[in-house]
């Protein structure tokens, strides 16, 4: 028995080691680009560049493209109008990357030193190890990660000051104490990848531990219905917020919504219901499993929603009282900066973090035992492929690289704080790939700056 367990552990260690080596070796380009890796949104280069940043804490210097994908539009067609070198801020000039998460007077001031935090990934859709890695990185960087709709494993409790409790329609894992612990409560109304369709955890992933956490039956598929069947108006929504704030009066409230045609109205409604953060999740966001028809066709990409919301909130005179966080296809430091220039205060990261931990974007998360890299799985063996400390370090290094790039972008725009970038659409330039040779230099070469 003991020998068998020893062998099992050796097997896991063997594969873990080989994987770690692979994450280091592929970005060297000694083997070229993996021919079957990548897609338009996440080309192989971008995946490898993210692995490399998670390894070194710096952007690649070997020509790997790390700023844009090849989707031909949105962030991939935008660049910055940098100042001539002599007008840029010098390296010695400090540049502030912090943002506030509350702009409402009277409520608790919360600030994060980097303009992003981790998005909801539930226990069940990812392993406990992944949740823990994310929570550790969030603590290290004094930012946040979110439980998603799956409850709060015990191991997360020490990190609770950095964990957002998500309340979604299935109410899975929502308990009085998880609300009391949370510095931020996130109401998930919709998810960009499957807007209007609710959530679905396949039976295979509802292990005994997951089911216990969700107070359900093991190995039975779990649906989070859409929408909240008790919310049909802004007033109903406010009732929800009041309920949560009765339990935890200190908590900030985030409202996660998708991007319908009337996203501007939704944002205003959320503000009047009392939200501190409006988290807008664009149609091209990540998911553990979603109908393909929804990912591609329902609701608009985040790039197109942000200017609409930003402008409308400005017109309504409430832009400075609410924080807009953008997600749904934020892959790089450049995407973060562009989203902010389009009107967000900051961003919420999901897939990028998984890529940093080894995701190849193969799309098999929901198949069989779940992710073969130990990410989106609850398989007891596969999930051991990710050690939480190793994962936390990788995320920390990715964050460091992103922060360095963000500072670099701000210096080259002559801005001393990321807060000055918000809504500065005038600092962007639109270049459809192939428009000019100049674009080839900006996007195609992949030269690190």
């Amino acid at each position: 028995m003991l020998t068998r367990r020893a062998s099992e552990q050796s097997i896991i260690r063997k594969h873990e080691e080989a994987l770690h080596q692979g994450y280091r070796r592929w970005p060297t380009l000694d083997f070229g680009l993996p021919p079957a890796m990548g897609d338009e949104r996440w080309p192989a280069e971008l995946i490898l560049a993210t692995w490399l940043q998670a390894e070194t804490g710096r952007p690649p210097a070997n020509g790997l493209e790390y700023r844009v994908g090849r989707s031909g539009g949105g962030f991939d067609a935008l660049d910055f109008r940098f100042l001539p070198p002599e007008q840029q801020l010098p390296e010695s000039e400090p540049v502030d990357t912090s943002i506030p998460l509350n702009r409402r007077p009277g409520d608790r001031a919360v600030e994060i030193p980097i303009p992003w935090y981790g998005g909801g990934m539930s226990f069940g859709s990812v392993s406990e190890q992944i949740m823990l890695a994310r929570a550790k990185a969030a603590k290290e960087w004094r930012t946040f990660t979110s439980t998603g709709e799956g409850g709060y494993p015990e191991s997360l409790v020490p990190y609770r000051d950095h964990v957002i409790t998500q309340i979604a329609t299935g109410m899975f894992g929502v308990r009085e104490e998880t609300i009391q612990w949370a510095p931020i409560i996130e109401f998930k109304y919709a998810q960009g990848a499957k807007p209007g369709l609710g959530g679905h955890l396949l039976g295979d992933k509802a292990t005994v531990a997951v089911a216990r956490m969700r107070e359900s039956v093991p190995w039975v598929s779990l649906f989070s219905p859409f929408p909240f069947h008790s919310v049909y108006s802004v007033e109903d929504h406010k009732k929800h917020i009041d309920w949560v704030r009765t339990i935890n009066p200190e908590a900030l409230i985030s409202v996660k919504v998708s991007t319908p045609t009337d996203i501007d109205m939704v944002a205003v409604g959320s503000y009047y219901a009392g939200a501190h953060i409006i988290h807008i999740d664009g149609g091209y966001g990540g998911t553990g499993a979603a109908p393909e028809i929804a990912k591609k066709n329902i609701a608009m990409p985040i790039e197109l929603a942000l200017p609409r919301v930003h402008r409308f909130l400005l017109q309504e005179g409430i832009r400075d009282e609410v924080v807009i966080m953008a997600s749904g296809g934020i892959r790089t430091a450049y995407d973060i900066a562009k989203a902010i220039a389009l009107g967000a205060d900051g961003c919420v990261l999901g897939t990028t973090e998984l890529v940093a931990l080894g995701c190849t974007r193969c799309g098999n998360c929901e198949r069989g035992r779940g992710c073969p890299f130990g990410l989106t799985t609850t398989d007891p063996e596969l999930s051991q492929l990710v050690d939480p400390d190793w994962g936390a370090e990788r995320l920390s290094r990715l964050y460091a690289s992103f922060q360095a790039q963000l500072r670099d972008i701000l210096r080259r725009l002559g801005l001393r704080s990321v807060r000055e970038l918000r809504g500065r659409i005038d600092l962007l330039v639109y270049r459809k790939p192939g428009d000019s040779d100049e674009w080839a230099n900006v996007v195609g070469s992949g030269q690190a700056r």
Partner: protein, 467 residues
């Protein structure tokens, strides 16, 4: 559903059953193992793990590609899902390649990825679900430059697809006069409504000229019957193959007009190729009970045709969704809008075909203004047809089918229809609509990339609305 004589309710659903591919597809990925390196790796690990065989022989692939008897020396490529774990771990031993043979499926419009999706739908009847987010280009030309709406707080939604709340996908095809007139005895006079209700907003178009074997037509007709929709069949073949039935729509052309005399039954709908008032009048005389549908090019002046008496129009484009260089999305919007502006849209049924090859194209075409779509190439791909070159022109496209087995073919089309219907429910549910009829022409419930970009990027230097 209320049946004559007694009240009974049957909730509409399409029975799905697995219907595996008849023709084996090439695997999605090629798994290339450098055998000498693999042997070297095993030897190295034998030393390293001191002969602990379970450890040495444990393989990176969790999908069984390197399973017994000889593992990596003879990988089972058909099991590979392209996760890349093997090559991430051992880049010098194994490489994974997309299989170029898969790239030869379909044509330049109906691409290999579409073929993959259609075959999955026809095999299983399920909605394609995958992990990770969207992987494709940012919007794009044609249907890809259009997104459908969702609503944050309304029902019915996902409940619809799980059957707790009913979302209707039925549509009516036929003549729908705006007003009824009655005589002094209270009997309706003049034009009275004459409609066929089909349970899904899609029907089956006739196959291309190159492929009209009896078995294929029988499969289309039987599947249409079981799905409770319609199949369009050239009238000569209706007669020759004895394909009578309420789900058959004979299509008459100039050269097949003479076959009409042999049509010994009264179809619920007859389609005529082109616009010919005299011929339509004659059809009306001969088949007074039938709904008449004129198949006309999608860029026709629909308002003029309606003023001349047309009530059911089938607007056609080529299989790539083009008509005189314009894409169906714009042509449908234009046709719909003309009828709306003239105040006659409610009296007319617009069916459209061409370029509608994915489930999402159905709601998009309906939003643009169609009542129903007629499916073509997607059906044939579901039956594992192969195209020789471009499948674009209905007159000249070369399409070949495998040896068809009727029960299999019918099930494949039922599976496809069930999957597309469920996907339609997803789209309707996300919008909070209870019936597809309400989707027609609802341009407010969709977003066009060009318009959104104009709004979002107008102030961005270098953005050109016409780009």
């Amino acid at each position: 559903m209320v049946t004559a004589g007694r009240l009974s309710y049957r909730r509409y659903r399409i029975e799905i059953r697995p219907a595996p591919d008849l023709v084996r597809l090439p695997p999605r990925f090629r798994v290339e193992v450098k055998k000498h390196r693999l042997i070297g790796l095993v030897l190295e690990e034998l030393v390293r793990y001191r002969g602990d065989l379970p450890v040495v022989l444990s393989r990176p692939c969790v999908y069984g590609v390197f399973s017994r008897p000889i593992g990596g020396l003879a990988p089972k490529e058909e099991l590979c899902v392209g996760c890349l774990r093997c090559t991430v771990q051992y880049p010098d031993v194994v490489q994974i390649y997309p299989n170029p043979e898969r790239e030869r499926l379909g044509d330049s419009y109906l691409k290999p990825a579409h073929v993959d999706t259609l075959l999955y739908e026809a095999r299983t009847g399920h909605v394609p679900v995958r992990g990770a987010g969207y992987r494709g280009p940012f919007g794009g030309a044609g249907w890809d430059g259009m997104w459908t709406d969702m609503s944050e707080i309304v029902r019915p939604t996902r409940d619809g697809i799980h059957g707790r709340e009913f979302i209707s996908t039925a549509v009516d095809i036929g003549e729908k006069p705006a007003l009824l007139a009655f005589d002094e005895r209270g009997e309706p006079v003049g034009t009275v409504p004459k409609v066929i209700t089909i349970q899904v907003p899609f029907l089956f178009d006739r196959p291309p000229r190159s492929a009209r074997p009896r078995l294929l037509l029988e499969i289309l007709v039987r599947a249409a019957q079981e799905i409770e929709t319609l199949a369009m069949v050239p009238v000569d073949l209706v007669v020759r193959f004895d394909l009578a039935g309420p789900h058959v729509v004979p299509v008459v052309e100039e050269e097949t007009w003479r076959w009409l005399v042999q049509l010994a039954w009264s179809p619920r709908m007859i389609a005529i190729e082109g616009w010919d008032r005299e011929r339509l009048a004659e059809l009306e005389r001969r088949f007074p009970e039938s709904i008449l549908c004129a198949r006309v090019p999608m860029d026709s002046d629909v308002l003029d045709l309606v003023r001349q008496g047309a009530r059911v129009l089938h607007l056609t484009a080529d299989y790539h969704g083009r008509r005189n260089g314009r894409f169906v999305m714009d042509l449908i919007r234009q046709a719909h809008q003309r009828l709306v502006d003239a105040g006659v849209r409610e009296e007319v049924t617009l069916i459209g075909s061409g370029g509608i090859v994915m489930a999402e194209h159905v709601p998009k075409a309906i939003i643009c203004g169609l009542d129903a779509v007629a499916l073509d190439t997607a059906l044939w791909v579901a039956l594992q047809a192969r195209f020789a070159g471009e499948c674009r022109n209905p007159e000249t496209a070369l399409v070949s089918f495998p040896r068809l087995e009727p029960a299999w073919g019918i099930q494949r089309l039922k599976n496809l229809a069930a999957s597309w219907r469920d996907q339609l429910l997803e789209v309707l549910g996300a919008m909070g609509l209870r019936e597809v009829r309400r989707l027609r022409g609802e341009l407010g419930r969709c977003m066009f990339q060009a318009e959104l970009e104009r709004e979002a990027f107008a102030e961005v230097d270098g953005y050109r609305a016409d780009a």
